[in-house]
């Protein structure tokens, strides 16, 4: 029995970088800024590789949609254990709706039993691509997953909900989106980074796939949030409690 897992990964500004709004208000500065794999996508890759290591999956295919440099992100995925990679090249910033449209084409071509992806990218914070993809495919979805078990053609997913965990059972194929607690991603070892260079990486052009990529949202402006006022330093816990009671009126 073969079971392929497709893992979409996104190249984003590294989570440790302080983003700066561009002077013209068109977006944030990405020139010369450290880029990394979206942290939630690392968790998705880790989960897919673990499923293969457990024998629940037979192949892990990473796919990224973006500029040519997104191949670095794919190489990271390969170094973490993905078997091969697909880059869908575009210089446009695509919205989740367009990304899901492109992923649907890849899903139809690759016929995975599971699409495992991060619940959201830490740049646009949309938290939408997995759900839209599931809708377009007519597949069930397990969002915000904290545990994934595959058995008898179904996936049992523990999901993070407000106030606890919900467990659902989905018929495969399905889309699962990874939340923080799902696992702790491994670091790619140097030998694995070397090995990843030799793994297959196919490149396609987004424009050739027949998907409407036109954005539905126009960015009117991007602005810095209001700065917080500089606070005061206090000398004792007693003084702090006093301030919290009488000045801030918060306790």
């Amino acid at each position: 029995m073969t079971m392929k897992v497709l893992v979409p990964v996104k190249r984003v500004v590294d989570y440790n970088v302080k983003v700066r709004v561009a002077a013209d208000g068109s977006g944030v500065e990405t020139q010369g800024v450290k880029m990394s794999m979206n942290p939630f996508d690392e968790i998705a890759i880790e989960e897919a590789v673990r499923l293969r290591e457990k024998g629940a999956a037979t192949e892990v295919v990473a796919v990224s949609i973006g500029v040519q440099a997104s191949q670095d992100t794919l190489r990271t995925a390969l170094a973490m254990g993905a078997d091969r990679a697909i880059l869908i090249r575009t210089n446009e910033t695509l919205e989740p709706l367009a990304v899901a449209g492109l992923l649907k084409i890849i899903v139809e071509r690759e016929a995975p039993g599971l699409v495992c992806m991060g619940k959201q990218a830490i740049d646009d914070d949309m938290n939408a691509t997995g759900q839209i993809l599931a809708a377009k495919l007519g597949w069930p979805q397990g969002t915000f997953a904290s545990a994934v078990t595959i058995a008898d053609g179904r996936a049992e997913i523990a999901r993070e909900i407000d106030g606890g965990t919900e467990v659902i059972s989905l018929a495969l194929p399905a889309v699962v989106t990874a939340d923080l607690r799902l696992n702790e991603p491994r670091y790619a070892s140097l030998p694995n980074i070397m090995k990843a260079r030799k793994k297959p990486l196919e490149t396609l052009d987004a424009a050739d796939l027949g998907v409407d990529l036109a954005p539905r949202l126009t960015i009117v402006s991007v602005a810095e949030p209001a700065e917080r006022k500089e606070g005061v330093k206090l000398n004792s816990a007693a003084e702090l409690v006093e301030k919290l009671k009488t000045e801030a009126k918060v306790i």
Partner: protein, 302 residues
């Protein structure tokens, strides 16, 4: 223009975040609401609601039947709105996929019927976006819109026939956290520890303080990575985004990615040995000193 709001019911009442969604949606014109499962009567009492669509037979909020039901009832609506809760964020993007529109998540301000402000980069920037879709599908951040009250309205209730649930998605069980502590993301007070807590044993010293304040406990990524606290406690860009009334950070330097997860808290307190720690730049009140001395004093003073 008319908006349709997906409500969530908890203990027989409409959740506060859903009442904020009703308030936000009223900016667009008339408001109808849809309730999955029980709770149509509570929804009908919300002020400003015209019509309640009730799908009482949908007992669990599985996204597949919920989005299918919504998609079958969007005709005549200009906007579909929900709170940016776990439920709203599960169902509404799927609805958007069915309708082939681009959802607009976590809206914090409505400029006009097509133009919305939403945080990106974990709130480090605010994007104003204009949608060209004919139906706008949006989730709103509850803390950004004052909720409508629970009583005062008398909407009509219309019963919907829910679509047959398909076997491809099944509810198994729900496990609500047994902890007496509030959830991190909805807590009024959050007490957070960083690497300065030294180790997992010392991290537990936050518990009596949290108990006194009825607070949730959070942790920085550094504290989580060092094994002091489980990942589910992580506050930050790669963890949970919180905005409590009071956030107390102990032994926590305030790395950028942590600040992104808590800087919208109303009052921030920082206790840290290092006077140069970046956390002091966002703190309303700071104490420079040894947290293991200050922590018991603070407990006593409360």
């Amino acid at each position: 223009m008319t908006a349709l709001v997906l409500l969530e019911i908890e203990h027989g009442e409409v959740r506060q975040a859903s009442r904020s969604a009703v308030a936000a949606a009223s900016r667009f014109g008339d408001v109808d609401v849809i309730v999955l499962g029980e709770g149509a009567e509570a929804a009908a009492r919300l002020p400003g609601v015209r019509n309640v669509l009730s799908a009482a037979s949908l007992t669990h909020d599985l996204a597949e039947p919920a989005a299918a039901l919504l998609a079958a009832h969007t005709s005549g609506y200009s906007h579909v709105v929900a709170a940016a809760s776990a439920g709203g964020k599960n169902i509404l993007p799927r609805l958007a996929g069915l309708l082939d529109v681009q959802p607009i998540p976590e809206v914090v301000e409505i400029k006009d019927e097509n133009t919305f402000v939403r945080p990106i980069y974990a709130g480090n920037a605010l994007a104003t976006v204009r949608s060209s879709d004919t139906i706008k599908v949006l989730t709103i951040r509850g803390s950004s819109f004052d909720p409508v009250s629970k009583e005062g309205g008398s909407a009509t209730i219309q019963t919907l026939n829910a679509p047959a649930t398909e076997d491809f998605s099944r509810f198994v069980r729900v496990e609500l956290s047994k902890s007496d502590r509030p959830e991190l993301e909805s807590a009024r007070v959050v007490v957070s520890g960083g690497k300065g807590m030294k180790d997992a044993e010392h991290f537990k010293l936050l518990e009596p303080l949290a108990d006194k304040l009825g607070a949730a406990i959070g942790a920085s990524r550094a504290a989580v990575d060092s094994g002091f606290a489980p990942n589910e406690m992580q506050v930050g860009q790669t963890g949970k985004i919180v905005a409590p009334e009071l956030y107390i950070a102990l032994g926590l330097s305030g790395a950028i990615q942590h600040l992104a997860g808590m800087k919208d808290s109303r009052v921030i307190v920082a206790i840290n040995m290092d006077p140069e720690a970046p956390i002091f730049r966002v703190a309303d009140y700071g104490i420079v000193g040894d947290l293991f001395t200050i922590l018991p004093e603070l407990e006593k003073a409360l």
